[in-house]
Symmetry: C2
Subunit: 305 residues, 2 copies
């Protein structure tokens, strides 16, 4: 099915798209599913749209891939399922098997699939597949895009929703009544950036690709810190359960001892407990130095325990 | 009570503030009151926030001033009252008596007063009083402001809400989950404009003040077209009931015959039936010419009837 302008609504950022898609698909009291670990605003956004937010765990034991059976088990009374691939905070890309399974659940339980794909230009290994492209899914999928990550335009607040024409008509109406639209000069800037095509996207992605290689090399040697394979997005997730500390305790101790700030896995939900999210957003030498010190700190901590 | 930064949340435009104030004050199914005639997005915005929108007429017989007794009669089950002064579409400024009466109704019925004051720099006669300044009202009033009218920054989508600290805390949380905030460079531009103070506001308001004088002079002579006294905002409302036509029929006929576009009163609700809203947004000679031809057209129409 071709995607035309009738399938797109521009929003003031991906966050506004997250809110709008849930406001559009859920009535007050409907259940909205999302995957744990999750981006920090997810549960509040679903509740803000009037829905009851219900999480489904994607565990480290399954490589942080959500399982169709777990989603199906939680789907009673649900109207929507929110997923995010490439994933923040895990750096995992959902496999075709994962997405095919989730799509089946959405069709079986008549769920809207809300697919947050804001990291779709940051793919380091494997490939990103939009579930909207799967059979029977274009009519029940709302894809969320944004210029924040792909073009480093976070501060400009511009994103979009791609979906079926009839849903987009309602979303445009909702947009008129919630924000009235996005400044024209910001849309012009986004258009300019998009017209530069893949070369600009690759240029923006290049530092993360480099740092991901640095992280892979530095972490290979450690028996204490295990990296979740980072296939996409600008984060590398570290399993530090071998230290005996929770992610939260480790993150606080690391900040105190080494002045290095990382996000504890627990701040993204229970499924990422005992993990850390490292953002690859500092320059290469600082990143390599911080990661080296983090690994040494983890090893000292493990030996002391 | 002093107004501090803890009383303010910046929003992507006054429209986003309208939505946020109703999302914050009304649960799904609560009644939200608004005054007819009204700005076009009002009922949809209230419904979009999950509320049941209920209008209270402010009739031409009472100079388009809403009456406290009418609001009180509609207040059963309501959580909020939305007003707009200086008013779009009528050009009326609510009197101190009107606002004191409405404030009493809000206190008696435990209503939030949502006060849309986006035309507060466009006052041609009398004075604008914010109901937040009335006794006992600061704790139950949410004031909506915007740079769109006062500084001609419509395309930049920046506005704000002023209210009690506790409500603002919740509104900031809602803002994080619906838009994530307003671009910093747009806030910088707004700050620059606000720091120019009253001289810039007066400069932006000057063309409307001139055209309002043109309209007053041109309309004085007509027995067919009666202007509602235009005390504020960039609109003059014309009573064309003497022509025997509805506002809608007149507006269509005028467009066909004279290629002049005006908004029929009916598009702002039933209370403004038989009226036209003329926007004072074309240059002075074109405005004078269009208004002259509108009056002649009305007189021909009345005589032919």
């Amino acid at each position: 099915m071709p995607t035309t302008r009738a399938n797109v609504v521009v929003t003031p950022g991906g966050q506004a798209a997250l809110f709008a898609t849930h406001a559009a698909t859920c009535d007050a009291g409907d259940t909205a599913l999302f995957i744990d670990p999750y981006y920090a605003t997810y549960p509040g956004t679903l509740r803000g749209a009037g829905a009851v937010a219900r999480s489904v765990a994607a565990t480290p034991e399954h490589g942080f891939q959500p399982r169709a059976r777990d989603v199906a088990a939680a789907a009673g009374g649900a109207r929507s399922l929110l997923i995010n691939t490439p994933n923040n905070p895990t750096g995992v890309i959902y496999t075709e098997d994962t997405l095919t399974g989730l799509a089946q659940v959405c069709r079986d339980h008549d769920l809207w699939l809300i697919s947050d794909e804001v990291y779709d230009t940051q793919v380091w290994h494997g490939r990103h597949l939009s579930p909207r492209a799967l059979p029977g899914m274009a009519e029940r999928t709302l894809v969320i895009g944004s210029m924040s990550k792909s073009h480093a335009m976070t501060g400009s607040r511009i994103g979009w929703i791609v979906g079926p024409e009839e849903a987009v008509e309602h979303l445009i109406n909702l947009s008129t009544h919630t924000t009235y639209g996005v400044p024209g000069f910001i849309q012009d800037a986004a258009l300019w950036a998009l017209e530069r095509g893949k070369p600009l996207e690759d240029e923006i992605a290049a530092p993360f690709r480099r740092r991901r290689a640095i992280a892979e090399k530095l972490l290979k040697a450690s028996n204490t810190v295990a990296a979740v394979p980072c296939d996409g997005a600008m984060y590398v997730m570290l399993d530090i359960r071998a230290t005996g500390l929770s992610g939260e305790a480790f993150a606080h101790a690391l900040l105190d001892a080494e002045r290095i700030a990382v996000m504890p896995g627990e701040s993204f939900g229970r499924a990422a407990a005992g993990h850390l999210r490292v953002a690859m957003t500092v320059d290469d030498p600082a990143f390599a130095d911080a990661l080296t010190r983090l690994v040494r700190f983890a090893e000292r901590t493990a030996h002391a325990a």
